[in-house]
Amino acid sequence: MSSVSDPLQQNLPPVAVARRVSVLRMLLSDVGACIALALVVLAVLGAAFAPWLSPTDPYGNDLANTLKPPGEFGLLGTDGQGRDMITRLLFGLRTTLLMGLASVVIGGLIGGVIGFAAAYYPRLSGLLMRLMDVLLSFPAILFGLAIAAIFGPGLPAVIIALAIATIPLMARVVRGSALVVLQQGYIEAARSLGLGDLHIILRYVLPNCLSAIFVFVTLRFGQVILLGAALSFLGLGAQPPTAELGAMAADGRNFLFFAPHVSVLPSIVIFVIVLAFNVLGDALRDALDPKLRK
């Protein structure tokens, strides 16, 4: 092999560093992506600091002030139990984002390990990827229904279901990009130096797969939030009185005609946050994919 002289000492070849800068620049030149990024940051901050930002207690009832429209009581009104909508939305966002984070992290880790194993050990590949095909042939909603039936409805059921649905997708993404990386000369060099498998995967394969993983995780986060909110809306996820955006939208169904804001506000928050993740993920993919670059 001619490229044994690849810079093994560094984690990333200098080209990659330059590329990272240009990716960031490209991302920031896209107005939509900037707005999406700002919204995501805002949502994460809002969710993280919900207990300090909220004007009231998310679980304290105020039955004298139920279903007040926005502007009349608090900035965004109150829900069916007189709870301030801003508080509920912040805490709901917190639950929804944590639910998404938990399922993407759990499913992503398991799927990632499977993907790397399938790419690195061709003998395992057939079995593992057939298994992934089987998981992939079922939609997330079916996992949601089955797991809620087994363990009973609740946030853990939703997280497990969404994690399981994420595993095969992540495994495919990771295997695909790891296979490309494994063709590179520096991997050959690392192997001929006698480095261990785990060392090679963690130090040389993983860093070079990060961009593909990053795009996938961003897009998946939006999908998982949408699915999780839908499951909670159905009553299979977060149980009352837990503030969760999907469950809040379901709660508002009862007052749809005379207090639509109880349903509409959490729905809008879900829509905006999922849209932000989708736009950001698309922009990242365009920026990281050399084929699409002008």
């Binding site: 909603i141 079916l142 039936a149 749809l256 829509f271």
Partner: protein, 313 residues
Amino acid sequence: MLRHTLQRLLLVLPVLFGVLLVGFLLMQVVPTDPAQVRAGPTATQDVVEAIRQELGLNEPLWKQFLIYIGRLAQGDLGVSIINNVPVSQELGNTIGPTLELMVASLIWAIPLGMLLGTIGAYYRGSLLDRAIMAVSVAGVSLPVFFLGLGLIWLFGFKYPILPFTGRTGPLWTWEGIQGIIMPAITLGGVFVGPVARMTRTSVLDELGADHVRTARAKGLGEVTVLLRHTLRNALVPVVTLIGLQIGFLLGGAVVTETVFSWPGIGRLAVGAILSSDLPMAQGTIIVLSLGFILINLAVDVLYAVLDPRVRGA
């Protein structure tokens, strides 16, 4: 092509086994004793024991699994805990409305999505293309229940022109059609975006192909080039992708049925799970999974029919 189909069929078997096993295990984790449930709370120990024998509950697990599969093969999915109706009967009543809803949604959403995607690809980079893509990204991000509740508020309350609770009659009557309009718009609405995106990508790939340049060089009209030489080839990946998105459609259907009280299988499943009616929940999950496996199989075969390269294999 026969070989391709047979191969796919063989792959389905282990999946099928997995689904049945999950269904079986689902019944094993139930804390209540099924024999006790059948016998009723006042039954004596002897009666319960007799029913245990009859149901085969004293046999080892693997034998119970075989009995279970035998019963499934005869269409016996057990009896609802809540209202004592056979699960298979309830399922039979709800499959029709669910299929109705899905067909009514796809029948307008797929053509519209393809049209938008083709327009976007043809005028790529233009303001029109960007608008179509923006709308489709927004469509993918829209919670189904938001669209449903919004429509109910608008056309059920503000301008009350359409019914929004349940199936209002058979589809061949005006009442029935009125009743399905809003659910079909809701479920189809979230499907337009993905179809438009897939079609656009696929058509873009084809537009750059050599045979399209040749077709233009021959002096064919743009419409012919677009429809016969581009869209027709672009359909192959689109059909597959639509097949893969059926899961997305199913998820939407469950939510849509709940929002509009549509008497479909998704609403039945959710209701059964929420009321801990495990035989019913198990039945709905098995039927939905089987339906899903069948759709995947059909998409695979259809793919072979559409793409001669696969057909030869």
